[in-house]
Symmetry: C2
Subunit: 209 residues, 2 copies
């Protein structure tokens, strides 16, 4: 019996809740949490005005659920790409490939939810800021593990994995910002190429190629 | 006669307008344009409710003036730091020093107005997005000129100045995002150090030191 057929069917309430979260994620990611109202979410989800309050007690609660959903789209794709490789060096490059692919396969409308939420929440919502940090922690761990693996495999000279992870995430997110504000994906392509160039500064001298 | 004494005195209206812009810049940079109301700005500037409308016809018009003021604080500091050096290589490093200094000398409360405005405006306000692009263009020009100068002076191997400027701005702005969401300036210090490391990949092999 396939695993999917063993999953209990979602109730109507669960399906509605899921639909609300998906629409809220898009609205908050494009307009910002402050820029989209609960009425906007109700309308987008095809509910009567105020219908969303039957499922979420507040906009804050919905914003957290929407962020968890949206950030999951990003992190699951990164983790799957990394899991497809055995060696740490290839894993680092796989993260850059996910990033390049974002141009034709966006995670969600409105850009990167980690960037958008971090920037919007830093002075306004401690709960959302904390959630953004957790998502970034998860991404940093993926990079740190890849760096440690590459070092253990002799492909990277012992480097500062935390420094490399800060730099990689910073450049990737800043590149998304540039690509979106200029409506020009060339910034993402450039940043991916320059990050690969930067990675080589940590490449072990006795590494092949 | 000093130049300052030749400047015509500001009228009361001009001083009030300036005060509105300064307070709006802080509010919009911390809470976002969507997150701060015109009433908030009036109150912060010590005006009666609605008083701000005597000086700005709309929130959109005020948001543009506030961004011009806030982005000017950033760009003037970068341009002054670069102008203090003759050679292109030192100019590139001077930009990193401005960035490190941001931790103890912020331009304005709420983080980098270029990042905040780019992220908030990309799907919501074409006028503000266009203004954010102009500010980023000005910064990119500073970097491209420094790279071209360093190449002409033999300190940089001929590199792609556009790629280097995208990477530098992306990493700097992404590093601000990380430092703010984690409340940890270590991310800025790391990114500055890693950018200097990245710059060395373009260092001419016959360059001294």
């Amino acid at each position: 019996m396939a695993a999917s057929s063993m999953r209990p069917r979602q109730t109507k309430g669960e399906r509605t809740r899921r639909r609300i979260v998906e629409h809220a994620a898009v609205l908050f990611n494009t307009l910002g949490v402050a820029g989209a109202s609960m009425a906007d979410v109700s309308e987008a989800a095809g509910l009567e005005k105020g219908g969303v309050y039957n499922h979420f007690e507040s906009k804050d609660a919905l914003a957290l659920a929407a962020f968890d959903y949206a950030s999951g789209l990003v992190l699951e794709r990164i983790e799957a790409a990394v899991a497809a490789h055995e060696d740490g060096w290839s894993q680092l490059l796989a993260i850059l490939d996910v990033y390049r692919d974002v141009v034709r396969k966006p995670f969600i409308a409105g850009g990167c939810p980690l960037l958008n939420t971090a920037v919007e929440s830093d002075d306004t919502s401690p709960a959302l800021r904390s959630r953004a940090r957790l998502a970034l922690d998860r991404w940093r761990s993926v990079i740190v593990e890849a760096v440690d693996r590459a070092a253990a495999q002799g492909d990277l000279a012992a480097g500062d994995a935390e420094a490399l992870s800060s730099m990689t995430i910073a450049a990737i997110e800043g590149g998304v910002m540039l690509a979106r504000v200029y409506r020009d994906p060339a910034h993402i392509e450039r940043v991916a190429t320059e990050l690969a160039r930067y990675f080589t500064t940590y490449r072990s001298s006795h590494s092949p190629g």
